[in-house]
Amino acid sequence: MKNSLGREIPETIKGYYKEVKPFTGAYDNMADIIKTQVRAKSIMPDEKKVLDNLEEVIKKSGLKDGMTISFHHHLRNGDYVVNMVMNQIASMGIKDIKIAASSIFPIHSPLIDHMKSGVVTGLYTSYMSGPVADAISEGILENPIIMHTHGGRSRAIESGDIKIDVAFIASSTCDSYGNINGVYGKSACGVLGYAISDAYYAEKVVAITDNLVSYPVCPIEISQDYVDYIVVVDKIGDPEGIVSGTTRITKDPIGLKIATLAAKVIEASGLLKDGFSFQTGAGGISLAVAASIREIMKDKNIKGSFMSGGITGYMVDMLEEGLFDSILDVQCFDLRAIESLKNNKSHQPMTATMYGNPHNKGAVVNNLDLMILGATEIDTDFNVNVTTGSNGIIMGGSGGHSDTAAGSKLAIVVSQLFKGRLPVIVDKVTTVSTPGETVDVLVTERGIAVNPKRQDLIAKLEKSKIKVMSIEKLKKIAEGITGKPMEIETDERIVAAVEYRDGTIIDIVKKIKR
C-alpha cells in the first residue's frame, strides 16, 4: 500500500514491533491519549541502592533474553555507557536484546560485534551516524530497526509502544539514593531531557555514574523515586566527545549568502517582532542565520520570548545580551550551554516529551514562531530527507526535525543548492523524514522557493520585493550545473522503518546494493 506521500509501505513488515500504520497526514492522529502502566517494585527503608558493579546491577535488574533496554545520548560521541553495559551483558551470555537508544554515534561501533553474535537483535533510535549506521544499512540485523523523532520516541515510550525493561541512565552526578543531574561532575553533559521518559516508564532504572555525591544532590533533574539501582564506574564518558565541535558560524561565503537571504525571508514574514521565538540547529549555516537574526533584533530593538532545542553558546550569548527572555533546553551542545543552565534561572531544562511529543497537552514546538532546518535532500513536494545520504546509507535521522517543522509557524530549510555535486532538490527524496506539508520555505544561495500551500507567505515576500521561484525551477538550475544524478539501486530487504512523530510509518529504508 502507499501512504499519503506516495511511499510504498508493505501491509506487514517482518519483525516490526507493532501493527503497520501508514502515514496519513501530519496532524491526523491527534486523538485521545492513553498512557501505559508501569510495574515497579517499592523499596524498603533500609535497602541500599548503590551496588558493587555492573554485573550485580544487571543480575538484580532481572534482565533476560529478549528484553528491551534503553540509553540516552547526552554524552553524544563521548559516551562510554552503551558499550560498557553491552559488553557486560554479552559476557553474561544474555542474548536477543533490543536497544532503545535516543541516538547512536561512531563511538558505539562495538555494537556491530554484538549484533553479529546475536546479543543485540533490535534497535530503536532517533538518529544514528557512523559504523553502526553503515552496518544497519548493509543489513546486519534480520529485522528492521525503528527510527523515530525525538518527540516520537517519548510518545512511543509513554504509550507503551516501546516497553523498556531496564533503562541505563548515564548520570554525570548522582547521589546515594538516585537523584540525578547532568550539570556537575567530570563528565557533565547538561540537560538530561531525552532520558526522562525512560526513567518514568522503564520497569527498572539504573543510574550509572562517575560522580557519586552525598544525599541529596542539587539540582535534581531525575528524582530518586524513579531509580532502582546505582553503580559507580571510573568514567561514563570522554568530555572531548560530549561537547560538540560543530558550533561555529560558517565562514563560507555561500553559507553566509544563504543566511542573509533567510534573514530577509524571516523579516518579511512579519514574525520577527516582540515576543519572537525560534530554534535552530548547531550547523554552520543555521548558526549564521541566528547571527543575522541577532543583528536585526539589535537594530530594531526587538525583544524575543524564547529559544529552544539543543542549545549552543551562541544562544546563550543572545540570552545574556537580553535579546530573549529565556531558553528552553532539551540538550546542551557545549560547555557554555552547560554553564548557563547551571547559573541562569532563565535557562530552563525541558524533557523530550515537553519538547516535541505530539501526544501530550501541548509541546514546546507548538509555541515556536520560527524553525531553521537542514536537509540532505528536499523534493518538489517539499518532503525532506535527513535520514539517509543520497547513496541510501543511513547517516542521520529526524531527531527534532519533524517535531519542530510540524509545530512552528514558519519552518525554513537552509541548504546549499548542491553539495559535492549532489543537488539538494530531487524528484523524490531517497527517504522521507519530514513531510512537505510541514515545510514552508527552502532557501539556497541561488534562490528561494516557497511551498505553494503558503500563498500568504508568497504574497508577503513579494510585497517585500524578495524574489521567489518555484522549487522546480530551482531544481533545474541545480541540474544545469551538476547534471542529473542516476538513481541508486536498493535491495528488497527492509533495514529500517521510519516513523513519523505519531507512530505511523512515513517511509522505509531498504538495504543498499553493493
Binding site: S390, N391, G420, R421, L422, T482, I488
Partner: protein, 87 residues
C-alpha cells in the same frame, strides 16, 4: 598526445578531483575511479574523461582518480593539466 611519465593534478578538497596519470604503452585506456558520488555520477565522470582523452587524441593511458564531487569542467581541467604535466 603520448603519456611519457607519471604526473598529477588536483586536490582532495570538496568539489575537486585528484587525478594521477601514468604511461600505459599499448594497453589502451584504463581508468580507476573512486568518487563520493560514484553511484550517482560514476558513469558521467567516466564519460567526461573519455571525451577529454578523445579530444586530446590519447589512446594509451592509466588514470587513477579520487573525486570529491567535482563538476564536469573541473574534471576536464584537472585531467588536461595532469596530461600536460606528463608530456
Amino acid at each position: 598526445m603520448v603519456i611519457n611519465k607519471p604526473a598529477r593534478a588536483g586536490t582532495l578538497e570538496s568539489s575537486d578531483i585528484y587525478i594521477m596519470v601514468q604511461p600505459n604503452q599499448g594497453q589502451g585506456i584504463e581508468i580507476q575511479l573512486d568518487s563520493i558520488v560514484l553511484k550517482q555520477f560514476g558513469k558521467q565522470i567516466q564519460n567526461v574523461m573519455r571525451q577529454t582523452l578523445k579530444d586530446l587524441e590519447i589512446e594509451d593511458i592509466k588514470i587513477i582518480a579520487n573525486d570529491r564531487g567535482a563538476l564536469d569542467y573541473t574534471i576536464r581541467a584537472r585531467l588536461e593539466t595532469a596530461i600536460n604535466r606528463a608530456n
